[in-house]
């Protein structure tokens, strides 16, 4: 029953975005939308996805606010705010046709929805076998890191590609990647003081998520996001842009290489089959933790580079 209420809140917060045209508000509404959707994920029994969505929502908000804050900051057209309801109806007039179209699509969709019972063939199999096959307690981590590690490799790869693309496509030359000067804008002293306390907590917590990924909710990706948040805090504390992106990129690629090699050795070639059975649980645990740590580091590096690149946009 609670889940219905949450779903309705979710849809309402989505509708906010449709009928809004000012970018700052859209970003805030989007933040709320992501928050609510991540809670719904949690209620549906998907803690890992919920945690990832929470981290992602923070990062998307930051990315968008950097972009919008840079370019709409100096706009001077401050207009008087209209009453929301009137605006809504005026908009509704012009968009009747698409609305009817989408409503028709929706009706068609519901009408043709298949009414078979959900099949649970793989679910049963995974749940009963993953502890002996892969080890650990978290079935999601087991699937990500062992059964479908081939997918995970490409998922890690796409992050590498996106980092390379962002670095390649940004306008400035590589020499000005980090300037090492303080920004003009300063945070308040109280904020800086508190952030300094919070920063180590964030890193510790990220590390905890990474290392405990195989026995509890969390994992490499979520922990990596938390660690990457540390860099945002660091930027806010020191207001300085000084870490060399090039080095971090090299580090990221090195980690990516080791992820590939590790998965080749452990999964593709089936090294576990060669071991005596007494050592098998230890090997499995070592593999899961090592893989989680690598993925966490890689994600942290990747998001750090993305954040710095956007900040560099902002600082110019």
């Amino acid at each position: 029953m609670e889940i219905n209420a949450l779903f309705i809140l979710w849809i309402i917060s989505g509708l906010f975005i449709v009928f809004e045209s000012r970018l700052y508000r859209i970003i805030i509404y989007f933040g709320i939308f992501s928050l609510i959707s991540s809670v719904v994920y949690l209620f549906l029994g998907a803690p890992d996805v919920a945690m990832a969505e929470a981290g992602i929502s923070a990062f998307t908000t930051v990315f968008f606010i950097i972009f919008v804050g840079k370019y709409y900051g100096n706009q001077t057209n401050i207009t008087r705010e209209k009453i929301e309801i009137n605006q809504f109806f005026r908009k509704l007039k012009g968009i009747t046709l698409p609305f009817v179209f989408c409503a028709g699509l929706f009706a068609l969709y519901i009408y043709t929805m298949p009414d078979t019972a959900a099949s649970t063939y793989l679910k049963e199999w995974y749940l009963s076998n993953f502890i002996s096959d892969v080890g650990g307690k978290n079935a999601v981590t087991a699937i990500l890191l062992a059964y479908r590690v081939y997918d995970t490799l490409f998922e890690a790869l796409i992050l590498v590609v996106s980092v390379v693309a962002v670095v390649h496509m940004s306008h400035f030359s590589d020499s000005s990647v980090s300037d090492g000067h303080h920004s003009e804008i300063e945070n308040s002293g109280m904020a800086v003081f508190t952030l300094r306390i919070i920063c180590p907590i964030i890193v510790l917590f990220g590390g905890y998520l990474v290392v405990n990924g195989h026995i509890s909710a969390g994992g490499g990706f979520q922990g990596g996001l938390a660690v990457a948040t540390f860099f945002i805090c660091r930027y806010m504390v020191y207001n300085i842009y000084d870490i060399s992106v090039k080095r971090v990129m090299q580090l990221e690629e090195l980690i990516f290489l080791s992820i590939i090699l590790l998965s080749i050795i452990a999964v593709f070639l089936g090294a576990a089959a060669l071991l005596p059975t007494a050592y098998l649980p230890m090997f499995q645990r070592a593999y899961l933790i090592l893989m989680n740590v690598f993925i966490g580091l890689k994600v942290a590096c990747g998001f750090f580079i993305l954040f710095y690149r956007y900040i560099a946009f902002e600082r110019r």
Partner: protein, 88 residues
């Protein structure tokens, strides 16, 4: 259980505040309040089902919501400052 429903009503009220709020900071405030209410929801949920790892989520939400809120607030003040400087 009742707490959960009270929280949902509060969430809806805050959403109205966010929609109505005359300035951008009101909306930001609403966002922050919503994130804290969600933390309460998670804690209640964890307490009902006696699952400890859900509390990790409360911490993650607190940290992430905090970081994004502070970042938005920083950039909001920054843009107005920039405009003032430009005028001078």
């Amino acid at each position: 259980m009742i707490i959960l429903w009270i929280m949902f009503v509060m969430l809806a009220l805050y959403l109205i505040r966010v929609l109505k709020g005359p300035t951008i900071w009101d909306r930001l405030l609403g966002m922050n309040l919503i994130s804290t209410k969600i933390i309460v929801v998670i804690i209640v949920f964890a307490s009902l089902y006696e699952t400890t790892f859900l509390l990790d989520f409360a911490i993650v939400y607190a940290l992430m919501g905090f970081v994004s809120t502070i970042f938005i607030a920083l950039f909001l003040s920054e843009r107005k400052l920039g405009r003032k400087r430009g005028k001078k």
